[in-house]
């Protein structure tokens, strides 16, 4: 009979081993899944994890790693602050969409004026848009005590409808022959989030992601606010006695997450995506939740987890075109990762002991 025994404090070793273990188990279970779909499991796993990095066309896929990883990291960093403090913003997808809309809206408003000021303005607008969207659950929580999980999630669906309304209405390209979708910002130099170094995939969003990682690291390890966030997560009562104001934390955590998600959306719409279209969002806001947990809510962990998750996106696309692996299988694969991570996490907080069955 196995028995769980609570550790006095979480194991430092297992904290870092469990994510790796979860990845390995996911590979095994994913392999079984792919085999069940009639694909060679070894080839499928190799296609997903090896091809993008070291395969024949790696020169094309490696830049994609930064392009796909940047929004994930940017959003996950913001989410991780709240998750640490027990503030559950799961509506990052909505904040991402609204950030993209406000950012692109500013750019489109200035069309066709050329100026170096337009892009910085768009960045600001994107961050503000995401921030504002995240302030809705924050303010409702503080003012009325509503549950931020449900409100932020509901706002994702609202944002999706807003996106459709914008792509079909006010932001529609007047020269687009009636097709839905805005003007392509990549053809508008002042608003284009261009590659900074050709062939690397490096754009302003990637820069922002790296800056966010560094700032979050400093915040959490060196700043009193970061200490308050960690304290609130670990011992809410103690935090209140220590003078931490929960209201301020809610505003800061949700606001930061919203602003970062908004930035991610803005960089995406002005660069890789190019235009506001109905199917602009691809679920980065939800995948970022997996990234945040896989990275153990730690900035450096999130950096690595974001790149790994980007790898599964890219590898998944390759496996889709080369092996005919359905896109949904990759989605399921990513979902499994979070599942196994949460499952093996028990080893961080508990010891497994053999125990004789006793009379209770």
């Amino acid at each position: 009979m196995l028995k769980l025994e609570k550790r006095p404090q979480p194991s430092r070793l297992w904290t870092w081993v469990t994510p790796l273990l979860a990845v390995v188990i996911t590979m095994l279970a994913g392999g079984a899944l792919f085999a069940a779909l009639g694909k060679d499991p070894v080839e499928a796993i190799a296609t997903i994890f090896w091809q993008p990095l070291f395969g024949e066309f790696a020169f094309y896929y490696r830049p994609q790693l930064l392009i796909k990883g940047a929004p994930l990291i940017l959003i996950a960093i913001g989410l991780s602050l709240g998750f640490r403090a027990g503030i559950w913003n799961i509506g990052a997808e909505g904040q991402y969409i609204v950030g993209a809309l406000t950012g692109a809206g500013v750019g489109l408003a200035f069309y066709p004026t050329e100026s170096v000021l337009i892009f910085p303005l768009m960045v600001l607008a994107g961050a503000l848009g995401g921030w504002g969207w995240a302030m809705i659950p924050a303010v409702l929580k503080l003012r009325f005590g509503t549950n931020e999980i449900l409100v932020s999630l509901m706002l994702v669906y609202v944002a999706e409808q807003l996106l459709a309304a914008m792509a079909l209405g006010p932001m529609k390209n007047p020269e687009g022959m009636g097709f839905p979708g805005s003007r392509n910002l990549r053809q508008y130099e002042s608003a284009h989030n261009a590659e900074l170094i050709t062939g690397t995939g490096m754009h302003w969003g990637v820069v922002a992601a790296f800056i966010a990682v560094i700032f979050a690291y400093v915040l959490l390890t060196r700043h009193s606010l970061g200490y308050h966030i960690r304290l609130t997560g670990q011992a809410p009562r103690a935090a209140r006695f220590a003078g931490v104001r929960p209201a301020r934390l809610v505003l800061v955590c949700l606001g930061t997450a919203g602003a970062l998600a908004g930035l991610a959306g803005m960089f995406e719409v002005s660069g890789p995506a190019g235009q506001v279209s109905i199917d602009f969002n691809v679920g980065y806001g939800f995948t970022a939740i997996i990234v945040a947990f896989l990275g153990r809510l730690h900035p450096l962990g999130i950096l690595l987890a974001g790149l790994l998750m980007a790898l599964t996106y890219i590898g998944g696309e390759i496996a889709q075109s080369n092996m005919g692996l359905p896109a949904a299988a990759i989605q399921l694969f990513q979902g499994m990762l979070l599942f196994f991570l949460l499952a093996v996490d028990v080893l961080t907080n508990y010891r497994i002991r053999l125990a004789r069955r006793e009379v209770a």
Binding site: L4, M154, A328
Partner: protein, 306 residues
């Protein structure tokens, strides 16, 4: 715009239909939360139920088998949640989110061959005499069996929680799991049973969407119904009767906005489609003051050593 084209009779009748999926899912979640477990995976279990029910109904030609399979599918997914939260003692919020992400992926994988297929039709019960009453007959007495199943479930759960011994134990576990444990109740077993029941109900709700309400299969077709069901439980202050009221309210909003869309109301369709979600937020704001009814152990991890 033509408001005259909206018939109150049909509106109320379709309200009953629109309310049923969220009613079923919310009732299941109500029982889960009364046992002290917060399962945020309702959306994932619903969509899994939707595809399981659809696939089995199409292949067997019997909607009844479909609904059974949907309940099974939802329960299997819920079992994963139970394993994570009750055995591996994982955080319930994170596990629920994982369940939803997993369920969405799983359902779109399972549903690949089923896009654009029509499921076998579900017969409407034509209750003699009652069904012939003008207006009320159409509104109340000419629906499919699942509508009445949902209504019966409301009564059953209300009675069980209020008057039965099993309900008392369930509530004890939800209010104070340590005390319930000390009294010798098997906290984990009771919670796992509640979670499975919640999963089966969510699965039924999902299958109701794919087999009757829509009826066809499209990816992500539950479109937040599971989350609305979660909000409904809060709205209902964890009471079965109020869940029914809430479900009718949301059913009404959904049906009304669809009717306004069809009538060519002068607002773009997208803004009308937002309304159920906005109403949910509004309701959460109004009801947020009344937290006193929440089960005291809701969302807390139980480990016998602590």
């Amino acid at each position: 715009m033509d408001m005259g084209s909206i018939s109150p009779e049909l509106l109320l009748a379709s309200l009953m239909v629109a309310a049923t999926p969220i009613l079923l899912a919310a009732l299941g979640e109500l029982v889960v939360e009364r046992a002290g477990v917060l399962n945020l995976g309702v959306e994932g279990m619903m969509i899994t139920g939707a595809i399981c029910g659809f696939a089995v109904a199409v292949n067997s030609g019997s909607p009844a088998f479909g609904f059974v399979a949907a309940a099974g599918g939802g329960a299997v997914l819920a079992l994963l949640f139970a394993a994570l939260t009750q055995v591996a003692l994982a955080n319930q919020v994170a596990s629920g989110l994982a369940l939803t992400l997993f369920g969405l992926g799983l359902s779109s994988l399972l549903g690949q061959g089923y896009v654009g297929i029509k499921p076998p039709p579900v017969a409407r019960l034509d209750i003699p005499l009652l069904g012939d009453i003008p207006f009320l007959g159409r509104v109340l007495f000419s629906h499919d069996l699942m509508v009445y199943f949902g209504l019966a479930l409301v009564g059953l759960i209300w009675w069980m929680l209020k008057y039965s011994r099993a309900g008392l134990i369930l509530r004890a576990v939800g209010e104070n799991h340590d005390a319930a444990h000390a009294l010798g109740y098997k906290v984990v077993r009771i919670r796992v049973a509640a979670i499975l029941f919640g999963g089966a109900c969510a699965g039924l709700g999902g299958a109701y969407i794919s087999l009757i309400r829509v009826p066809q299969w499209t990816e992500g077709m539950t479109a937040g119904a599971g989350w609305i069901a979660l909000a409904l439980v809060v709205f209902a202050s964890w009471k079965a009767g109020r869940v029914l009221l809430g479900a009718w309210l949301f059913g009404g909003v959904t049906v009304l906005q669809l009717n306004l869309q069809a009538a060519g109301f002068a607002i773009p369709v997208e803004y009308l489609s937002m309304s159920p979600y906005l109403i949910t937020i509004l309701v959460l704001v109004i009801m947020a003051g009344d937290k006193s009814r929440a089960p005291a152990s809701l969302g807390r991890i139980f480990h016998a050593s602590q």
